[in-house]
């Protein structure tokens, strides 16, 4: 990745994250098969909800025929981390039009957020709607295609995990986290490591008492507060 913000660079930048989508799509295909969801339902889930872990949760709640309100509430809780990510990312687009802001927000994901933050650390904080929208739209299309292919392949592949593709998402976040740490020159590496340590501990402790999604949200907030504290009062 470099500091270029053209559409062409965006296409190149987004490629590594697409492996993760293919892995998730294949894994989901098998789940959708067991839930007997049709291609149309999967397509609507991908294009309207467009959120990985929420789509898994919704599907399993479909199987257990949960009430609509319970499914919507779970989805909101699982995706509430988007509020933090969007607030954080919106700082970079304050001077762009409201329409552009809505466009970027509509298709932002964990992956394009992480990618965008990485990019911003290379461009001294500058990001353009052209770059971000390109990454977002490619991710959106590949996401949907991966799920459809996954659903079709789900009939054939009995054990999609044996390809190791399911680990692509985790590997991607490990990579983006490391690149983010070393890329952000405005902040001391030591502070970043302290934030990481704090989040790991918080996840572990909160994980005992809360469901993983709420633990993730609270651990993130604790990590941010801790980071601010060590930076301000050292």
């Amino acid at each position: 990745m470099n500091d270029d913000l053209t559409i062409k660079t965006a296409i190149k930048d987004v490629i590594p994250t697409l492996f993760g989508y293919i892995g998730v799509g294949l894994a989901y295909g098998v789940v959708a098969q067991t839930a007997h969801l049709g291609i149309l339902t999967i397509t609507l889930l991908c294009l309207i909800v467009y959120a990985g872990s929420a789509q898994f949760a919704i599907t399993s709640m479909f199987v257990s025929a949960s009430p609509i309100s319970a499914i919507i509430l779970s989805t909101f809780l699982i995706n509430s981390r988007m509020i933090l990510m969007s607030t954080s990312m919106a700082q970079h687009f304050k001077h762009d039009s409201l329409r552009q802001n809505i466009a970027i927000g509509t298709l932002i994901t964990d992956e394009t957020f992480a990618l965008g933050m990485n990019k911003a650390s290379m461009t001294k904080g500058k990001l353009t709607p052209a770059w971000f929208n390109t990454a977002n739209v490619i991710a959106y299309i590949v996401w949907w295609l991966a799920y459809v292919v996954g659903a079709l392949a789900g009939k054939l592949i009995t054990n999609p995990e044996s390809f190791g593709l399911d680990f692509a998402v985790v590997a991607m976040f490990i990579g983006l986290l490391y690149l983010q740490m070393i890329g952000d020159r405005r902040r001391k590496l030591r502070v970043q490591l302290e934030v990481i340590l704090l989040v790991v501990i918080a996840m572990f402790v909160l994980g005992r008492f809360l469901n993983p999604e709420i633990a993730l949200l609270l651990a993130t907030i604790i990590g941010c507060l801790g980071g601010m504290a060590v930076e301000e009062w050292r």
């Binding site: 479909f62 609509i68 607030t87 687009f93 680990f167 985790v170 934030v195 005992r208």
Partner: protein, 108 residues
Amino acid sequence: MKINTYLLLTILGCGLVTWLSRVVPFVLVKNFVLPSGLIKLLSFVPVAIMTALVVQNILIFKTGSWPTINWLNFGAAVPTVAGAIITKSLLIIVVIGIISMAVLRLLT
């Protein structure tokens, strides 16, 4: 399962709450000036949230008992981290992760 009103309404409702979570912050940040303390706090979001996402995948959660380590994911994470430090290329890091997991599954 054929698409029916139940599925359709659920998908639309879930889509709406997710879209609002994504878009409302952009609209608010565009129209209001955030306090500098909050901006400072938000600057830690990327590292904090990415760490939490990694940890979520490396631990196995079960409410009521301490999380345990998913040794398979942990095992694949080690070469992935090493690959990150050596190559600094996201594409290579992801490929190393996939291969590590495939190899581990083959061995176990």
